[in-house]
Symmetry: C2
């Protein structure tokens, strides 16, 4: 039986998952591929930690460069994470004529163009199914399954940690900081959770999806990013009363002229499928001009799910190696000569419905003043509630608007927040309803 | 620019969708494929009907064999439907060295082995993404996206017509026959709806999925099939009271020894994602040993969604033609030498929870008699309600059981239905909860 030889860089959680799958499912993978995936090397700076998977000590090394330079290695798998040395290793592997598989969304979101262009010049492949949506075959579905479509947009939950926290906050009414601590204790959130809770990880993934959806170069800087750390139990309570769920969403739309690309906490109607995607699960809606809305759901992270995506890339590239078809699908699904930048709209250009929570002194005429300023900025109110009297002299006034321009909203809130009767900065959460 | 030349057999709804996409999305398809998909011929016995898409009259023909024999045609698309002449055309196209794309689930469920084996011998490809789940990239996701996994099972909604009818019955409380007539008037159900409402279409699709999930030959006869035509508004009412939704599901599980393969109306907890897949939408859960549960959702039928799946196969095969890699993925995802039959369990071997509705004479001791017989057959009751008195002397007694053996259930119901106090045949609906 023919062999595809794999060199792994980075023996962390996902690396261990990949190794486990290659061992446990060797037979079924061979029966599909018609060849075997042989793990030739595992490189890691730490050879001591027990990864919970038995490995022949002789294939373990601390020398990643040796792996990249081994002429016997067909595919280099980069699971180190971060920017360096991951980037140098990937570029050197490509330079050496290797195929590459990576789960590194941060790397691709920052340096994807350089990596894909190096791969294209060398006629090499870069598989990155594991970089977005963990075990869900999202990348493949957009690049190949929906290839007949002009992608009109996509939106979804791409970070399990943030979704876990929002789910707990919704179910238990606990404050963000408590739930975060609990998530960290359970291993659902990292010691430094910044990337997950501030939307940066979601924005990395959105950046990659933009490229395969629309054939644009990767440009992380164009994505508007806002996290969930300012969401309060008070807002969650009101959100529920209005019939919404709150999710940290990646949202993009292509109106044919320009592209929208944003990550922020979002209210969605509670009776939609996406509103019922809870805990650490991910889900993405993709809208194609021919197919309509397709949704994919599953585990967006974790050792075995992400390992499953890594191995799917190994098999895919393995099939191409066996049939002499390396490069049959371009990295982002578009031929490199067709990859062209498009204008990305700023968040100020957004048209959306909004949820506002004002903290106002409890005096007659307050609502009239606030709604007056909104009216001056052409923002009309769909629904409003004035709540209780237990907030140290200030009462929350919550409202849902009709569709309005974000630029106008920002100006109106700035004016409102300057009023004497308004005590705290007004909370703004965007609403999305794609049905 | 290189050309991939396509000959279409069957210019019905899906055929028109395919042609529309090839025209409308020519540019985006070319930018991905790096070649153009050229429609060389459209063959249909009816050249007169307006399909709502403008076509050069010179490529229209009634002569399907001419298309199959044209040496310029690279890929033959069979969208005729049914068994003959579709089967002969497909086999002859393969014999002539063409690649084939088909949306014909009935054909594959009956003659898939013969077609795939002919293709394998000729080194040809048969694309059938459009045969299951309409525009949802289900086939590709199982064959390629989840390739690292031992598939442990799958279950889902694969027929939009049946789901539409059950959704309407649930929302409106109307009887099956009324909703069917309404669905026919709206074009959601065909004049002869047998395949859709009796579960046969779903069973065709399940048969195809069994093959790609487990690497077994196609064998339609092993699938247990039961439709939705006996579901009554009364049952729907009780089902809701118990906290369930009713769906026509395709269900399969692999316990490592044998396989379960069944299609029947099924109760699922109302707070699950699948319970909220309504109208004509399809959705499939696939459980892989590494990835866990992945779910795909989208439009399971229709001109443009199904056309989208057909064109995705054209691009996929086109890429293989361009890179000389025809046959890089075997038809069912497994190398032919590994495709082996497995034992499929009969419905009598099933362990499940059940919903029963008894029609019993309203006399004291009735429930005791019924539950006594159930107890004799080791069937224990989880929940029971005795309802109203408005059924012409008989009252409905509805219950949910704990897990029981289907063989025992059948015996118990046969004994119960012989009782003088029982007026009608007892209604049995299986329950499924995969959470």
């Amino acid at each position: 039986m023919k062999q595809i030889r794999v060199g792994l860089l980075g023996f962390g959680t996902v690396g261990a998952g990949m190794v486990k799958i290659l061992t446990k499912n060797r037979e079924v993978i061979e029966s599909r591929l018609g060849a075997s995936l042989e793990l030739k090397w595992i490189a890691d700076i730490d050879l001591e930690t027990d990864r919970g998977v038995s490995v022949d000590k002789r294939i373990m090394t601390t020398d990643a460069l040796m792996v990249i330079n081994d002429p016997d290695v067909d595919i280099v798998v980069e699971l180190i994470g971060g920017y360096e040395p991951a980037k140098s290793f990937v570029l050197e592997a490509i330079e050496n004529g290797k195929q590459v598989v990576t789960a590194n969304k941060a790397l691709l979101a920052r340096h994807g163009n350089e990596i894909f262009s190096a791969a294209s010049q060398k006629g090499a492949e870069v598989g990155f199914e594991a970089s977005v949506g963990g075990g869900i075959p999202l990348i493949r579905s957009i690049k190949e399954g929906l290839v007949a479509n002009r992608i009109q947009g996509f939106f979804g939950i791409l970070n399990g940690t943030a979704n876990y926290i929002l789910t707990k906050m919704t179910n238990e009414g606990s404050p963000f900081s408590d739930v975060l601590k609990e998530a960290q204790a359970l291993g659902y959130a990292e010691a430094d959770p910044t990337f997950d809770i501030e939307g940066i990880d979601t924005a990395h993934k959105l950046t990659i999806l933009l490229s395969i959806a629309y054939g644009v170069p990767i440009d992380f800087e164009t994505v508007y990013t806002e996290g969930i750390s300012k969401i309060t139990p008070l807002d969650i309570k009101f959100i529920k009363e209005f019939g919404y769920s709150i999710k940290l969403l990646a949202i993009s739309k292509d109106d044919g002229k320009s592209i929208e690309a944003r990550v922020h906490p979002t209210l969605i109607p509670e009776d939609t499928l996406l509103a019922n995607v809870n805990e650490a699960y991910n889900a993405l809606y993709v809208k194609g001009d021919a197919v309509g809305n397709v949704m994919l759901f599953g585990p967006g992270a974790g050792m075995m799910p992400t390992g499953s995506a890594v191995v799917s890339d190994l098999v895919d590239i393995g099939r191409n190696l066996l049939s002499g078809a390396i490069g049959r699908v371009p990295s982002v699904g578009y031929q490199p000569s067709y990859v062209k930048p498009r204008r990305v709209r700023s968040i100020e250009e957004l048209d959306a419905e909004y949820y506002f929570r004002f903290s106002a002194i409890d005096k007659p005429g307050v609502l009239s003043k606030i709604s007056g300023i909104l009216g001056e900025h052409q923002i009309s109110i769909k629904s409003v509630h004035q709540k209780g009297r237990d907030l140290m002299g200030a009462v929350p006034i919550v409202m849902i608007t009709h569709e309005a321009k974000e630029a106008a909203v920002k100006k109106a809130l700035s004016d409102i927040d300057k009023l004497d009767i308004v005590q705290d900065k007004t909370i703004l959460i965007r609403i999305e309803d794609w049905r």
